[in-house]
């Protein structure tokens, strides 16, 4: 009789909202690479006498994310103070939301391993301020003091949306998928860059394991997972740890643990002080946040088409494969680029192929974002149209494409520099060229006509010669067709 163990996982995701200024003051949120303590003011340094004023954009982004997560947005909500002492928290309280969060009761679908959609409950989404950053003594040289840490408040006050899931996740892979769906969503909405490495999307996991004999281990909270991979590994490690403890009849204590990525283990972060008592109470410096009539509806109307809807539409409308639809809707820029190509006349399938292979390859090779891609959707579409109209072969198009990437030149100069003419070689011109090749390869022609080219190898060889001669400017199917008809005649 062997015991069965079911992991129960819930995630708390902190998403930095992509506003220009902080949530309660006008300091810039652009702290990556900034000189420490430059994006600060009396408010975000916690100076006495300062008061918070809420950023309208943070509310807008929070509402937008809430709606996309199918949450119910509260018309009247308020902020609370979460009190605790820590040097990265200059007021010694974090302004957050507590009993009346901005939004509640949502869900988001993930795709299970068997391919079916599974809804994951969203408990709540609330707004809060980020803390500053602590730098501990490093090899920096200047920061070598063994007994000191250093505080940079640039990040303090950057708006966060905290998204709390229900404990609906069962496997590390599901957790990973859930996070990547949330990340894709916030990027689609334009409310965050969702970058885990940069820390603009941070995940804490609550995990416990249920045993088939009825025992249920206490929950552990895991922090410090800075990538999807780290999340998956940390959860795998933790599940194994819980199962081992339960199997050995040991008691799991409720605690916070830190993921150590280099060692591949979680470590208990024992706090030497007494347990936290955050003493939440309503923030008296901020009256309730009341959304005006029609505000939520307006935000709902402003929502872009969500990635999963767009994927379905790409499949249904453009007849793309599951894989192509997924690839092209992975991010909003690519999906927009694709549809812009179609608007400029590109055919759905060839455009999809071209983007998936050529464009994505160039982006990956150069670690480039689509917004920095040197060729516009209009030009890509123009090439596709020429290919669609058999005026440009795939090979020629690739040559021109490479030329444009390398030299950032426009389509027509690229074509003329590659010595490729729009319209390519076709019709009588192509027929004359094929005749010439046949004359030059009389021996091969004879073999074919005598019926000895059983597997068509020799005919393919001739076609290759033609293609080489046309430098890809001929439509391969037209070449085959002309070749076939010339070989038959006579």
């Amino acid at each position: 009789m062997s015991l069965l163990f079911t992991p129960v996982i819930g995630l708390e995701i902190h998403v930095q909202l992509a506003t220009a200024s902080k949530i309660f003051c006008s300091c810039s949120t652009d702290y990556i690479g900034a000189v420490p303590n430059t994006n600060v003011c009396p408010l975000c340094l916690g100076l006495p006498g300062t008061l918070p004023v809420l950023n309208a954009k943070a509310v807008e982004y929070g509402v937008r994310a809430s709606l996309a997560l199918n949450c119910t947005v509260r018309n009247a909500t308020r902020f609370h103070r979460k009190n605790y002492f820590y040097p990265d928290l200059p007021k010694a309280y974090q302004i957050s939301q507590y009993d009346l969060p901005l939004a509640e009761h949502g869900f988001i679908n993930i795709t299970s391993e068997d391919g079916t959609l599974r809804p994951i409950g969203i408990t709540r989404l609330h707004l809060e301020e980020d803390a500053g950053k602590l730098v501990h003594g490093t090899s920096d040289g200047r920061l070598t003091g063994a007994s000191q840490s250093f505080v940079d408040y640039n990040r303090g006050g950057v708006p966060l949306a905290e998204i709390v899931s229900e404990p609906d996740l069962r496997t590390p892979a599901e957790a990973r998928q859930y996070v990547s769906v949330i990340r894709q969503l916030v990027r689609y909405l334009g409310v965050s860059d969702g970058d885990m490495e940069k820390g603009s999307l941070r995940v804490d996991a609550n995990i416990s394991v249920k045993c088939s004999d009825g025992r249920w281990g206490e929950r552990a909270e895991i922090k410090n997972m800075n990538s999807l991979k780290a999340l998956e590994r940390a959860l795998e490690y933790e599940i194994k740890r819980h199962i081992k403890m339960l199997s050995e009849g040991k008691i799991i204590i409720q605690e916070t643990r830190h993921w150590n990525d280099s060692q591949g283990i979680t470590i208990s972060s024992r706090s030497k002080e007494e347990a936290h008592d955050y003493r939440y109470f309503p923030e008296p410096d901020l009256p309730p946040l009341v959304l005006p009539d029609g505000y939520v509806k307006e935000q709902l109307d402003k929502l872009p088409e969500l990635p999963w809807d767009r994927k379905r539409r790409f499949k249904d409308t453009y007849g793309l494969s599951e894989q192509d639809s997924a690839t092209l809707t992975e991010n909003r820029d690519m999906a927009d680029f694709y549809e812009n190509c179609l608007i400029s006349g590109g055919s759905p399938e060839r455009t999809a192929n071209w983007l998936r292979t050529e464009v994505l390859r160039v982006l990956n090779e150069n670690k480039m974002e689509l917004k920095d891609f040197p060729i516009s959707s209009h030009i890509i579409a123009e090439m596709i149209v020429m290919m669609d109209n058999r005026k440009l072969s795939n090979t020629a198009a690739k040559e021109v494409f490479e030329h444009m990437i390398e030299n950032s030149s426009d389509l027509h100069s690229a074509m003329s520099l590659c010595d490729i003419s729009a319209g390519g070689i076709a019709g009588d011109q192509l027929r004359d060229l094929v005749s010439k090749i046949l004359e030059q390869n009389n021996d091969v022609v004879r073999v074919i006509r005598s019926g000895e080219d059983l597997n068509g190898k020799k005919q393919k060889y001739l076609k290759g010669l033609v293609m080489r001669e046309t430098r890809g400017q001929a439509d391969p199917s037209e070449v085959s067709w002309i070749l076939a008809s010339l070989l038959e005649n006579n």
């Binding site: 920061l143 840490s149 309730p288 009341v290």
Partner: protein
């Protein structure tokens, strides 16, 4: 309602206030009299009272525009332990927070 000296010490730690033994005694005494006073509030029937009114005022919203504050040098200079661009604090060992 009496409050023990132990409880006073606990609350003082939570509030990060160093208190000596004499202060603990006098604070415990103070708490006793003030809590007795607070106890009066239980005489009232508060069952249907909403503790926080939500409809009186509403918070204004600020336009999302970043501005640079020019006096960060002055602010850093007010710190008793400035270290270059940083505020310096005792080394933090545990990774919690």
């Amino acid at each position: 309602m009496a409050i023990s000296e132990q409880e006073v010490r606990k609350v003082a730690l939570l509030a990060r206030l160093e208190v000596d033994e004499e202060e603990v005694r006098s604070l415990a005494h103070h708490f006793d009299s003030i809590l007795e006073h607070f106890g009066k509030l239980n005489e009232l029937d508060l069952d249907n009272i909403d503790p926080f009114v939500m409809d009186e005022t509403q918070t204004p919203l600020r336009e999302d525009r970043a501005e640079k504050w020019e006096l960060r040098e002055d602010a850093l200079n007010e710190a008793s332990h400035r270290d270059g661009d940083f505020f310096r604090v005792p080394r933090i060992v545990s990774e919690e927070g």
